[in-house]
């Protein structure tokens, strides 16, 4: 039984009104707060909004492609292809394991690395895979669209398109072309030298974007500057010659048991480089797999060397041009000279002291003969006058010690010893007369021969025939004359005859096809000692070199061959380099590259 106390009256209506008043009060606070945020602090938040929403993008310009001649036609040798980068924002990945599994499934790759990347903390961007092909990208897109299967797993996954270089000809002309690294910079070769013209001018996009950076539709803050595509480059290279040169060089190196070498075909009357080969080579599409950066270098322009006896015709050219001797001069050769307490003697089986002609010097490759020619420049001995005269020819006529300016990255100038300063200058200079102690590149050598043999005009060697801009306007590069009258026309003629004589006498030993009357063919071998890195020369390592020319009524092509350290008997120049020239000259003649005598 309950007893009741006096009841307390509770005012329900009052309570309802208290509740309502509370709501009105809160509503008022909200309105005041909205006023504060939206009106008073509007500028602050507007700025904050733009700083997150307004993004500036670079619109990459399409890089120009590289083309080469193919007979009378033109073919591309470097193209662009879209590839895709697969990336993730780990923040949005809810189930890294499942997502990784689907990606691995789609791409047919390994799960574990994706899983680790998808779980990364503290980053909003992680690259899962690079350089996906269009096909792979479509697969990814299909998988992402299949929402029943894995749709939600793709939240936070995206792809980005990037242009990559492709090489329809594979390794062909690799060092000459160079490559484009992941940062989009041209490295080595044409890609490096012509980078500014190839890359074009990137455009600019300033836009309000969504959170993933996709620009939203028209907005007054948006701004677009279209990119200007890079210029296409047509090279002077002939793809047929290039292919043959590379094949012949490789076969020749194999035969000589050499592991590296280079070769060059230069047009004598223009300076246009028709083919330029290096071995060993690499695939520029897979440059990132190469560990030894030496593979990237174009040794023809970047690796000056002591060329050896192929210098002798140039020494002869200087002496003849100075009027000290003529091509029929006969002199007494003692087979040994003592200069600065050093000995100059011949390495070839020269038959000892006796009367020799200039032809003999070249045909037998007499070091003493080359030294004797230098002595004539000094009035009978190697002295300052001889040094200055020869130095003048090497540097100011033949352009040694200076970059040619060919369109290649990392060109080296080489070095010519100073005629006035230094120790043992006379013996040093005596050595330069037969190609030791002076560093010149294969290209410099070829360009100098082109000048000496074409009648005396030094053309700048070049690789870029023309550039074509995005609107189709062509800029044709004309042959550029660096120096007229490098030698007198008579000198040019004399050297041409002397070098023809060498081949006429030695062709069978050089494994060169017997010269045919309708073609002009000449050459000179060289066997240079290789310098040790700590000074001095190796006793058993040589570089075999060969300089040759081909033509009809006039000299058309200069061909240079370099064979590093061949491991066969005999002299490197004659045994290893000359046969390669032999095959090259057959190839050029048989393919009608050489215009026969009229």
């Amino acid at each position: 039984m309950q007893t009741e106390k006096p009841s307390t009256v509770i005012n329900i209506l009052g309570r309802i009104r208290v509740l309502y008043a509370l709501l009105v009060f809160i509503a008022a606070i909200f309105v005041v707060r909205a006023f504060y945020l939206q009106v008073i602090k509007h500028d602050y938040y507007q700025k904050a909004a733009l700083s997150g929403q307004l993004k500036q993008y670079e619109i990459p310009a399409e890089r120009g492609i590289i083309k080469v001649h193919s007979g009378s036609g033109i073919v591309p040798i470097v193209l662009n292809e879209p590839r895709y980068t697969l990336f993730a924002d780990p923040k949005y990945i809810k189930d890294p394991k499942a997502t990784a599994l689907v990606i691995a499934d789609t791409l047919g790759t390994n799960v574990s690395e994706y899983e680790a990347k998808l779980q990364m903390v503290g980053t909003r961007y992680t690259v899962l895979a690079k350089k996906l092909t269009k096909e792979q990208k479509l697969k990814i897109d299909r998988a992402a669209k299949d929402r029943n299967k894995a749709g939600s797993l793709w939240k936070g996954i995206g792809t980005r398109e990037t242009e990559y270089r492709t090489y329809p000809q594979g390794t062909l002309a690799a060092q000459l072309l160079g490559f484009v690294n992941d940062a989009g910079e041209g490295k080595y070769g044409i890609e490096q030298f012509m980078h500014d013209e190839l890359k074009g001018k990137s455009g600019e996009l300033k836009a309000i974007t969504d959170a993933r950076g996709v620009p939203l539709a028209a907005n007054k803050d948006n701004l677009v500057k279209e990119p200007i595509a890079g210029k296409d480059v047509l090279l002077t290279i002939d793809i047929g010659m290039q292919q043959q040169l590379e094949d012949i060089l490789k076969a020749g190196l194999d035969q000589a048991k050499s592991t590296s070498g280079g070769a060059l075909i230069l047009e004598a009357n223009t300076g246009a480089i028709k083919a330029m080969a290096n071995y060993p080579t690499y695939n520029p599409a897979e440059f990132f797999k190469i560990e030894d950066a030496n593979l990237f270098t174009n040794g023809i322009v970047s690796a000056p060397l002591e060329v050896g006896s192929i210098m002798k015709p140039l020494t002869a050219a200087a002496a003849i041009d100075l009027g000290k001797i003529n091509k029929d001069t006969v002199y007494f050769d003692p087979a040994i000279f003592r200069i600065d307490n050093e000995v100059v003697k011949n390495v070839e089986e020269d038959g000892g002291p006796g009367n020799r002609s200039i032809r003999d010097i070249l045909q037998l490759s007499l070091n003493t003969g080359a030294t004797w020619m230098l002595m004539q420049m000094g009035g009978g001995e190697v002295n300052q006058q001889a040094r200055i005269a020869w130095h003048d020819y090497m540097v100011n006529h033949f352009q040694f010690g200076k970059k040619t300016g060919v369109e290649q990255g990392y060109e080296s100038a080489g070095s010519v010893p100073d005629p006035l300063n230094g120790y043992g200058l006379n013996i040093q200079y005596a050595n330069t007369a037969f190609g030791q102690g002076v560093n010149i590149s294969v290209l410099q050598t070829a360009a100098a021969y082109a000048a000496v043999l074409n009648g005396g005009t030094y053309y700048k060697p070049y690789l870029v025939d023309r550039t074509i801009d995005s609107s189709g306007r062509e800029t044709v590069k004309r042959p550029e004359i660096v120096k007229q009258a490098v030698v007198k026309p008579e000198t040019s003629k004399a050297i041409q005859e002397l070098m023809e004589y060498v081949v006429t006498r030695n062709y069978s030993g050089y494994k060169i096809t017997k010269p045919r009357p309708e073609f002009m063919i000449g050459g000179k071998t060289g066997t240079a000692q290789i310098t040790k890195s700590n000074g001095g020369y190796y006793d058993d390592r040589y570089t075999g070199t060969f300089v040759g020319f081909l033509g009809g009524d006039s000299v058309q092509y200069i061909v240079l061959i370099r064979v590093d350290n061949p491991r066969i008997g005999g002299y490197a120049g004659a045994g290893a380099a000359a046969p390669i020239f032999g095959k090259m000259s057959d190839m050029l003649i048989n393919n009608s590259y050489v215009t026969p005598k009229f």
Binding site: Q2, I16, F30, V39, A49, Q53, D95, S152, L216
Partner: protein, 411 residues
Amino acid sequence: MAWSDRGRRQPAVLSRGMVNQRRHKPDYQILLLSSILLSIGLIVVYAISPGLASQKQVSDNYYIGKQVMAILLGVVAFLIMANVPVRTWQRLQRPLIIVATAITIMALVLPASIDYPAHRWIRFAGFSLQSVEFIKFTLLICLASFLSNKAQNGQMADKNTMKPLLVVLGLLGAVVGLAQKDFGSAAVIVAIVATMSFIAGLPIKRVLLTAVLIVVASMLLILPFSYRRDRVLNFIHPEQNCLTSGYQACQALIAVGSGGLFGKGLAHSVQAYGYLPEAANDSIFAIFAEKFGFVGVTILIVFFMALFTRLKNIMERTSDTFSRLIVTGIMAWISVQVIINIGAMMGLLPLKGITLPFVSYGGTSVLFVMAVIGLAFNISRYTNYTSLSEVSPSRKKETGYALNYSTRRPS
């Protein structure tokens, strides 16, 4: 009282009130205001639907289509609630409890998926249902029934009244707040219980005591969990954690603030494009504020207040305690969600992950809000012409309209 058989008995005062009350025209303003708020939500969802769709790689009309479907279902729910007698729900308490429990258990037992974490949803015939909405509805009916009985019998001050309330609070707090980690909904449930008890006449001392208990319990729930602590701290200094845990709060403030006086216009929201998470659901107020500015926000708040005013009027003018408590619960339900949602978007409250009634995209939310509005619409047919306080004290006894309950204290 031997004949008391758990609520089926109609207390004298109550039955008199209902029987004496003639059915009249419902309050169409409730319908009008609800329709306006729903339309506002639909317009915003429509405007941002393509943007959201592009972020999620679904068709442009995916969101707006689902929202229209939800509203159509909501209209059905509204019509049912508006026409089925309110008493029916009181009789259906037991089935309601069974259904809500079953759905909650299913949500807890079924494996959580990426799209539906935290065991809050069940998926049914292509729809996902939020279990907490069933809990709230069941709570509304059962609590109204329980409290109206106690109030009619003058037992609001009894310990037997307080105990079940605390048990229900504790149980639902554990399920929703701890198991489902839905702290926002837990807060709404607490608010519903507290408001209904308050209007039913729970002594002020008990109300205050409960408030202290809830504060202590909340601290215990917040402090040990770093993500909850972060949310609270972020709300105090949102700018400091813009890139990490405070990202959403920060982006919400940017959306609201960049809206300015008149807004950027319907089509010019940027924050919806991936910057502000949950742009269509929990964050829709911020997108609305970005589009329509301070003027729009003020109008929206006025519409909500107008709706609450209509609900308050029903509370004042119904003579049936059960009905009044139902409407009280509905007002608490909707208003607390509005306060928590808008408060969070404007940086006044911590983020809770709760929808803005009528406006937010989300099927279950729309469906249940329309259902309870239908209930209020129904009850609005049985109000008196004047506020009950205006009935003269002398007539109280005859009419039984008295709004002032007397409370007996057991000695």
